[in-house]
Subunit: 137 residues, 2 copies
């Protein structure tokens, strides 16, 4: 039996960004707050960490899962991921907002479906174990 | 010019887990704390959210990036990701610990290199823009 994924995990690479924004913790917190709105999701908690000499990590817990960002101002690069579950949220819209917010010159977005094999567990249906696993139920 | 990735992002699917552990916020916080140690990384901040009627999200900010988990006890499923940068951290060891901690009957682990195209930005080297981008520098 095929079970729909529980969510979508967008892996977003932002390149050629505005370095000053990538090092601005307040700007990054505001960007995540706005991205959660653009992605039609609900922000529950927001946490961040500034690194020395540069770089910021920020993380938003959503009702629908999360948004995270890690920045490398010296490389004009940010690693973002947006994971949402449910039918309402639009993670790609959140990603597009993030690309614009940091003035990314280019970006790549890879969408990974999550929870593809999680119809109620039956031992006889386990066809894989470990890293090489492929689900077939 | 090829630039080494800035980090490794492990997307971990845990199936057939112990449902009670997936709904135990304190257990999950302790698991993330221990996973950060097993992965030879440094835990900076830990945040979590319990959902009603069930399910937990937890997020660890590491000096090396992050670990997150979202749980669906009713499906015996957890979506985990472990993102680390630098040479020291061992994200796969953190993943293996998480699989054991939740008694996963099976798991799949997908490792995504992050920041493959982030040698100092030169507009002439941008060969892609948008979702279909492939980096060639």
């Amino acid at each position: 039996m095929t079970h729909p994924p529980v969510g979508s995990h967008c892996i977003l690479e932002l390149r050629g960004c505005a370095s000053d924004r990538l090092n601005d913790e307040a700007f990054i917190r505001e960007a995540l707050t706005q991205a959660s709105k653009e992605g039609m999701s609900t922000l529950l908690k927001l946490e961040s960490q500034k690194f020395d000499p540069q770089g910021v990590t920020a993380f938003a817990i959503l009702a629908e899962s999360h948004i995270s960002i890690h920045t490398w101002p010296e490389l004009q690069y940010a690693a973002v991921d947006v994971f949402t579950c449910g039918e309402t949220a639009k993670p790609r819209l959140a990603c597009e907002y993030m690309a614009k917010a940091f003035s990314a010159a280019s970006y790549t977005l890879k969408e990974v479906p999550r929870g593809m094999c999680v119809s109620p567990y039956k031992p006889s249906e386990v066809v894989s174990s470990g890293e090489a696993g492929v689900c077939s139920n």
